[in-house]
Structure formats: structure tokens, C-alpha cells
């Protein structure tokens, strides 16, 4: 069972309270698709992803990035409703129960989306870079430690239903 110190909770809540989802979301997905281009395999419906410039100006990429921060909505109808950033906010609100909160999401990623869980780490690493750029020296080693712990718990929860 994951145990969070008060300081870790405070750090994670602080990160999300200062993060502009509409700004960071698009950057997150741009980085994932540019830095790890094989992830484009999951976004065949996004149109032009043929160059870094195309990715940066693609409105579907931008929209898609925003969700992870706002929290994952279980009643998703199609790929466009899913955003990585929204999911993380949900994890934040359920820090003590991330595992169960993500059961349905894990099933979704495994059964329907069929995303290789290795990609969760890639996205997490890109999000860390996005945060570090925005927070600069405020992203202290202690805050980074709490953040990496939070990410690894979310990734583990998302991977849990794979078999």
C-alpha cells in the first residue's frame, strides 16, 4: 500500500494548482509524439503527424494533451475524450486510492486502446520535462522525488489490469 507523507501530498497538490492545463497539455503531447515518434501508432485518426511542425500545430494533439491534467473521465465515448492530463488530476484527488480509481482506466488502456504500458513511462518522462521547464528552480530535488513517486504509482495502477 502506498503511504504518502503530508509533505509529499502538499508538493503534488502544489504542482497541480500551479499548472496551466490548457498550456501544458498541448506541450506534453507534442513532446511525446516528437521525442518518441513510435507513439504515433496510437493516433492514426489525428491526421497530419508527419513533422514536428505538423504535430505542434495539430489541434487534435493539443486537445488530447489537456485531459490527463483535468482527470480521466470514465464515460469515454471515443479517443478524443481521453486526455492524459485529466487522468492525473483524478489520481491527485484520490491519492490514497489510486489503485482502485484506475481499475477501469487500466482496463480501457489494456483491452480497448491496447497501449503498450511502456508508453506510460515515456509520457511520464515527458510530463516531468514539461513541469521542470515551467517550474525551473522551484522543481527542487525533494519535489521531484515526490513527483516521480506519484507518477510511478499512477503508472503501476494503469498497468495493473493488463494480462
Amino acid at each position: 500500500m502506498v503511504v504518502w507523507t503530508d509533505q509529499e501530498r502538499a508538493f503534488i497538490q502544489d504542482i497541480f494548482s500551479k499548472l496551466n492545463y490548457e498550456d501544458a497539455g498541448p506541450e506534453l503531447y507534442c513532446r511525446v509524439l516528437i521525442v518518441y515518434p513510435w507513439t504515433q501508432r496510437y493516433f492514426g485518426g489525428f491526421g497530419n503527424l508527419y513533422s514536428a511542425e505538423a504535430i505542434k500545430s495539430n489541434p487534435m494533439v493539443a486537445a488530447h494533451g489537456i485531459v490527463v491534467l483535468h482527470g480521466l473521465d470514465k464515460a469515454m465515448k471515443n479517443m478524443d475524450d481521453i486526455t492524459v492530463l485529466k487522468g492525473l488530476e483524478k489520481a491527485l484527488k484520490n491519492m490514497d486510492n489510486i489503485k482502485n480509481t484506475f481499475t477501469a482506466l487500466s482496463e480501457l488502456h489494456s483491452e480497448k486502446l491496447q497501449v503498450d504500458p511502456g508508453n506510460f513511462q515515456l509520457l511520464g518522462d515527458c510530463l516531468t520535462v514539461v513541469l521542470a521547464r515551467r517550474m525551473t528552480t522551484d522543481f527542487t530535488p525533494d519535489i521531484q522525488a515526490a513527483w516521480q513517486k506519484f507518477l510511478s504509482v499512477v503508472i503501476s495502477a494503469l498497468t495493473r489490469q493488463y494480462y
Binding site: R31, A52, T128, T137, F139, P141, Q148
Partner: protein
Amino acid sequence: MSLSAKDKAAVKALWAKISPKAEDIGNEALSRMLLVYPQTKTYFSHWSDLRPGSAPVRKHGKKVLGGLGLAVEKIDDLFGGLLTLSELHAFQLRVDPANFKILAHNILVVLSMLFPDDFTPEAHLAMDKFLARVALALSDKYR
């Protein structure tokens, strides 16, 4: 994932900004690695102080960044250029190569913090590839 001419140019351009701050960057990256990934401390049990910013950490961070500088110089022949360092890591230090990825991640985090405007997605891509290639060259002599 070999380095294109564009990747090499991006690495060199970013390195021009990195090298004046190499010691600080090395210290910051190593400090974070030891704190955030405590399993990496197992390689430094002979140091008196493993806390972020301590003297041994700072000194070693400088050494590591010096090694990276060599890699930038030898970017067209990483395996040849890093041969001696690979032998050192393989036969003497015997660092598990998985740790190269951990340190690389922390270097990228520090670069993002210090150069938020220069660390564009293209620069991020190039540095990620470069560090992965350096790790591969360093592991070359392991077995």
C-alpha cells in the same frame, strides 16, 4: 536509433550553452539521481557524504559532465571515442547499465529547468537520443 546530422547539430548547439555551467549541471543531475533513485547510492558507499550538493557529489558531477563533453567531441564515433570509459565502467566500476538511463533522465530534467526556452521538443529529442547512444557506447565492453 542513430544520430542524424540534425541531431548532432542540435546537441552541439545545446552543449555550447551547457559547458559554461557544466559543473553545476553535473552536481544538480547527480544530486537528484541519488535522492530520487536511492538504489543508485549503492555505487557510492565509499563517499563520506551523499547528500545533494555535497563535496564528493559536486566533484563527481563535474567528472561525469566532463565525460559527456568528450562524447560531444567524439559524436561522430562514440564507440571508438568512449572505448576507455567503456572499459572503466565494464571492468572496474561495473555499474549496471540500467542506471545510465536514470542519470540521463535527471540530466534532461536539469536541462529543462536551466534552459526552458532552448529545450525545445527537437532539442529534447536530440539530447535523449544522444544520451541513449552514449549509454550504449559505455556498455559496449560489458560482455
